[in-house]
Symmetry: C2
Subunit: 294 residues, 2 copies
Amino acid sequence: MKTLPAALIQQRCSNNRSENMQKSCAMITSAAGSGARLIVLQELHTGPYFCQQEDPALFDLAEPIPGPSCETLAALAARLGVVIVSSLFERRAPGLYHNTAVVFEQDGSLAGIYRKMHIPDDPGFYEKFYFTPGDLGFTPIKTSVGSLGVLVCWDQWYPEAARLMALAGADLLIYPTAIGWDPADRPEEQERQRDAWITVQRGHAIANGLPLLSVNRVGFEAGTDKPETGILFWGTSFAAGPQGEILKQASKDNEEIVLVDVDLSRTEKVRRIWPFLRDRRIDAYQDILRRYRD
Amino acid sequence: MKTLPAALIQQRCSNNRSENMQKSCAMITSAAGSGARLIVLQELHTGPYFCQQEDPALFDLAEPIPGPSCETLAALAARLGVVIVSSLFERRAPGLYHNTAVVFEQDGSLAGIYRKMHIPDDPGFYEKFYFTPGDLGFTPIKTSVGSLGVLVCWDQWYPEAARLMALAGADLLIYPTAIGWDPADRPEEQERQRDAWITVQRGHAIANGLPLLSVNRVGFEAGTDKPETGILFWGTSFAAGPQGEILKQASKDNEEIVLVDVDLSRTEKVRRIWPFLRDRRIDAYQDILRRYRD
């Protein structure tokens, strides 16, 4: 048994960005104190989810990588001796921005980055305005605790993304996320959405025989233009094993540090009885590369 | 609302093949009497799951398509005016056999066939001995009740198969199945397996915004060589909607006709709020066609 103690940091965000980062750092420190070696933050954890409106001024929130947030997190990773998966609004060049996951090694070095490949855009989630689609492909980030298949939020609906990470040798699938409800939706629709979000990710764990960590923010964030609207982020950060079994799951409404021991040796055991990679019909998958088969 | 009344036929099988077919026909007739327009049978429904051992004599169970079972089912489809999804052991040529789904139109004509593409092989499921992998690809079968994305059993673990059916315009995903437990497994392992089987399929429904029908056999079938071993088929046939929501689910241990109204118009509604097909990164999926990215 090759156990990796991991932690998921589920938090609320206010408009005070330094307070948000201080809270993240305090929660990371606490998780490390409890023995976590891999610590995953939620998507765009330095502030509120700003994509609720399209405002050119909000590009000011972006920062270079490496940059100020990287410095803080790298120093913390080194001090605590842990691997941290962070999620930042990357300013790559004037007018060129990405939604980027950044992984820090336990010595504080930059292990690697992943630029969100699938960019959503629907009411309240205007990400296509802000984020250029990633150009680094689906490549796991090698670290001292394993090869991390880091993807971001909207990617979690795409089996292709998880599969490509698995085929490239990922030991875990990891999803920093910011997803929530339109408070105007009826409770049964809200529950269907949350359940679908859990289920599709558990499906990726199963189809690839990989453990999975998904970290979501929590709390209500009002719309800037229309404060009566907004997003109620549903938390529910969770860890699943390679048969999709839930190992740990956070609440819908509280800030939480979820500690979970991930048995990395279970992947090979499960793949021996469910050898899905053996039987893939790669001779017949060509049309996956088409937009539509019409 | 464009509602399709469907039925899932979950049955036990004995060694008496004519009795099995009579029972299938009786259940189909009953389902049609209750209003079903689309009726789905379980995998290899004419007899016990013979792949528990490798025995060349068992190829005698195969039949041509069209052939005797097709004649019976085609006549029944015409008499009742329903579409039937059947699953047969196809003898294509001497020494060339397939695990083949056969769809009959409501006038009794052959709407199309699908030859199982992903072939399993693990203890108790020696399918690679019997079934040549399908050579017809992943193509929905057009019928009067919709374009049917018919796949078979082991295919259900492969997101690629479901995706290719969705991209080719399938209105539903349909899985005739024969899956069960090794009775020697512990209850928690059994439950993990069944739950994974449900979850991965619900994941396909979600990722593609499609309703899904999965039909499994039920009951214990002893091993021929070692009657103390065998497979306890777990039933649990179910229908899910395009957000993966369970519409109906059968028991683990009884023969059942599951009647379910499938709202085919929900696919477009769901895909408008979750437009996953819009954002696929087809420029970055090439390595899906590789066995492994090493």
